[in-house]
């Protein structure tokens, strides 16, 4: 049973206790192309579900990243400052963006599991 969840905006979350690590899906990084810059939130910033939390820039364009659930930022992936291409090479691993301390674990129920997300993106093709 995977603890990986996905949003319709193509973010993923890995939940551990009351904390979630957040990044963008492999589908999203493929759509974006080469990532050249990621603007991360600051530790201590608070977001409600759906609020803009980060920006990811490819050669071509900038895209907003939303907090899939509400919470407070506890950690950001500073490795992306030097190597934003980690988002392309390992979207669901080393390419993570930030960690949130969850406000309300019940918000996770609105998200998709991996197989539902795969079906969702298949429907977008």
């Amino acid at each position: 049973m995977s603890n990986l969840k996905f949003s319709k905006d193509h973010e993923w979350l890995r939940v551990e206790g009351d904390s979630a690590t957040i990044g963008i899906s492999d589908y999203a990084q493929e759509q974006l192309g080469d990532v050249v810059y990621v603007e991360l939130p600051e530790i201590g910033q608070k977001f409600s579900a759906g609020a803009q939390a980060a920006v990811v820039e490819s050669v071509k364009a900038a895209s907003e990243i939303y907090a899939p659930v509400g919470g407070e930022v506890t950690e950001v992936n500073n490795a992306l400052d030097d190597d934003p291409a980690l988002v392309n090479s390992d979207a669901i691993g080393q390419g993570w963006f930030f960690k949130l301390k969850l406000d309300n674990a019940a918000e996770l129920e609105a998200l998709m599991d991996e197989s539902s997300y795969q079906e969702f993106i298949a429907g977008l093709e």
Binding site: D9, G33, Y37, K60, E64
Partner: protein, 374 residues
């Protein structure tokens, strides 16, 4: 995640090379009414770098190819552009602009003096309007034709000459900004040594039915990989070249845009082109604003329409092209600033998502031009 670029209207046209792009796995996007390759599986970054290191093949058949001919064709064209067309030597080509009565730019174009005809390459989005302008402007003995039956293929990069010369030996000695008729893959082609990347390279005009053969034999050369519109855009931005509809438009004059070099001495003295009042005044007295290169500090790109601030925080201009330069390894930006802030070295700020990024005016291009030296 959501993109900030809105969708474009559905494409209605495809180029002669459409099936090649699809077979190569290109990401096809609508662009000025055409379905065009944004990038191939290698991606924009790799395609850009390959162009600077080796050679890339671009389908630019969406561009308009127009020819004009007949007695007085050069004189007639000079009534629409500030460039010196009468003085264009046989087989030479030159960059110029269609200007409007207010001195703005209706389109920018290349003009080749080919065998008694003037061959124009114009922007895809403007080609119908350009054709109307030419037809309305020319009366009597000058004829105009739009060549929708022709494809245009660009081969760009330091290894372009080696790859092309294996099939068309005349390419080896073709001078920069000159044209020659050549046979490639058995087809008649008009080849110019020119391009839009800042590198040495060629643009190859062939009839659409020959385009696939020409594409295939050039792509089969070991130096050559395909590249899409994404790399074309980042290459031209690093090269400091204007993109119509962004860095130049109906409101910007050639002088503001830093294109004064394209207006010959005789034209500056004689005038006789649309918008001459403003353009000649700006030549004499200087423009109020100027297109400049802007280098942001840090890694965040400043995109088109980003507000440009003075060191004191006042609004002094707007970004017209901005992104990431794969060869420079950082953000690169062009925009218009009030003339008081246009000097190289001037400190500026770029207002990106509510934060001011420090930046400074730099000399264009960001990546040195490496055109063929005659």
């Amino acid at each position: 995640m959501s993109g900030t670029n809105g969708p474009q209207s559905e494409p209605v046209n495809t180029t002669a090379l459409h099936d090649k792009h699809v077979a190569l796995g290109a990401k096809m996007v609508p662009f000025t009414g055409y379905s065009m390759p944004l990038n191939y599986p290698a991606g924009i970054l790799a395609e850009h770098l390959h162009t600077r290191e080796s050679a890339s093949l671009f389908d630019v058949s969406h561009m308009g190819q127009i020819s004009i001919w007949g007695e007085g064709a050069a004189h007639a064209l000079e009534r629409l552009v500030p460039g010196d067309i009468i003085g264009l030597a046989p087989s030479a080509l030159r960059y110029t602009q269609f200007t409007n009565d207010q001195g703005g730019i209706r389109d920018d174009l290349m003009v080749t003096n080919a065998d008694g005809r003037l061959m124009l390459v114009v922007n895809a989005a403007c080609k119908d309007a350009d054709l109307e302008l030419l037809v309305a402007g020319f009366k009597g003995s000058v004829d105009v034709a739009l060549h929708d039956d022709k494809a245009l293929i660009a081969l760009q990069g330091p290894q372009a000459v080696a790859a092309l010369a294996r099939h068309a030996p005349k390419a080896e000695n073709l001078e920069f900004m000159h044209a020659a008729a050549m046979k490639i893959a058995g087809a008649d082609a008009v080849v110019t040594r020119s391009g839009y990347t800042g590198e040495d390279g060629f643009e190859i005009s062939v009839y659409a039915e020959a385009a696939n053969d020409v594409w295939d034999i050039l792509l089969a050369e070991p130096e050559v990989s395909p590249a899409g519109l994404g790399a074309r855009d980042s290459l031209r931005l690093e090269a400091g070249l204007c993109l119509y509809g962004h860095d130049i438009d109906e409101a910007t004059s050639p002088v503001e845009a830093g294109l004064l070099w394209s207006i010959g001495k005789r034209r500056r003295e004689e005038g006789g082109f649309p918008g001459e009042q403003r353009i000649l005044d700006e030549i004499a007295n200087g423009p109020k604003r100027r297109r400049v290169g802007i280098l942001p500090e840090g890694r965040a790109p400043a995109r088109e329409n980003t507000e440009i601030l003075s060191a004191a925080g006042e609004s002094v201009g707007i970004v017209t092209s901005g992104g990431f330069g794969p060869s420079t390894g950082g953000p690169v930006t062009m925009g218009y600033v009030d003339i008081a802030h246009a000097k190289t070295g001037t400190s500026l700020g770029l207002l990106v998502r509510g934060k001011t990024i420090p930046a400074s005016v730099v000399k264009l291009p960001f990546a040195a031009h490496r055109y063929h030296k005659n």
